[in-house]
């Protein structure tokens, strides 16, 4: 029961942080409130007894915050104040309403909080230690039972780094001479 109350407090905090992120004018403040939302999410994972995901969330949040702050700290991005298209607001409202209606029907069929819906997780808990030998069942699932999915995840990372290198390298070569000259001037 107490976990539910703590989770609701964390969720309200996260909603307030998201609203601040959307509405604030200063770019750096928006990035910092994104970070606050991420750390609150990791706290929520910790209260839900999922330390693996909590560790991953904290670490990835720090990494993305470093990159975002590094990207926004020197660039003054001016927020767009004029809102000319009223039609876009109405379209957004209609779609949010549709999502809420369908989500209402979808959430009716969800199991109650804390009750496992999939019986396959019970199999992992019962036989994981005997079949794999790892005491951390999360690792035994992602690297033994479902290692093929993890391989696909690694391939996603591999593709992303390849794409980033291809795009950024060509971009750099076009501006290479300007780049060097600016360096020398400083």
């Amino acid at each position: 029961m107490e976990t539910i109350i703590i989770l609701h407090i964390i969720l309200v905090f996260m909603i307030i942080g998201s609203l601040i992120t959307v509405e604030i004018r200063n770019m750096l403040s928006a990035v910092i409130s994104v970070g606050a939302v991420g750390f609150a999410l990791s706290l929520a994972f910790l209260f839900l007894d999922a330390p693996d995901i909590a560790i991953t969330q904290v670490i990835v949040e720090i990494l993305s915050l470093v990159i975002l702050i590094r990207a926004t700290i020197k660039v003054d991005n001016v927020a767009i104040e004029k809102r000319e298209h009223i039609l876009s607001d109405r379209t957004a409202l209609i779609f949010v309403g549709m999502i809420l209606v369908f989500a209402w029907f979808a959430f009716q069929s969800l199991p109650t909080f804390g009750e496992p819906s999939m019986r396959v997780s019970e199999y992992y808990l019962m036989n994981g230690l005997r079949e794999v030998g790892a005491t951390n069942f999360v690792t035994s699932v992602i690297l033994d039972y479902r290692a093929y999915d993890t391989l696909g995840e690694a391939m996603v990372l591999f593709t992303s780094i390849s794409g980033a290198f291809v795009i950024l390298r060509r971009w750099k070569k076009e501006q290479d001479k300007d780049f060097l000259r600016i360096d020398r001037e400083h």
């Binding site: 693996d52 560790i55 670490i59 030998g133 951390n136 690792t139 690297l143 033994d144 290692a147 750099k172």
Partner: protein, 154 residues
């Protein structure tokens, strides 16, 4: 030139103290990934964060002298190859891809659970060096983007 790149001496000193601790903690999270919470992905991101911290504190030139972008992508590929070859050995030994062909060992020991620790180390190499290389590539881009308006002003 090296003295003037990067941040203040306070940040550099704290980075010097913290880097070793962060590397050891990342290695701990990886090595005990099958016993305690953690695993290859968080440990790899932590090791990438060590290099990113050095990049921020000391500048890109110094960290590229230690681990260049090309080295990072080579280590990244080695991690992928280790994962792939574990899978292929499992295919030939046990009959299915990514079969756990090593012995299970005793629970709560570091050398238990067969191939999980090898896969964890492979994912660490992969994720850590991948994210570090992405940060290096982004820092090159960001440098150009920030310097460009100055040229127009002058």
């Amino acid at each position: 030139m090296d003295k003037h790149t990067g941040m203040t001496p306070i940040v550099k000193m704290i980075t010097k103290v913290l880097c070793g601790l962060m590397l050891v903690f990342g290695a701990f999270i990886v090595a005990y990934g099958h016993i305690t919470p953690g695993g290859g992905f968080p440990g790899g991101v932590m090791i990438a964060l060590v290099y990113i911290l050095i990049t921020l504190a000391y500048g890109r030139v110094i960290v590229e002298r230690k681990v260049s972008g090309i080295t990072a992508s080579v280590v990244d590929d080695i991690g992928a190859l280790i994962f792939w070859s574990v899978g292929m050995i499992g295919l030939f030994v046990g009959g299915s891809y990514l079969f756990n062909f090593l012995g299970k060992g005793n629970p709560f020991h570091i050398l238990s659970a067969g191939t999980i620790i090898i896969n964890n180390i492979a994912i660490t190499l992969k994720v850590g060096m991948c994210l570090y290389a992405i940060f290096l590539a982004l820092s090159i881009l960001q440098r150009v983007v920030i310097d460009e308006p100055k040229e127009g002003e002058e």
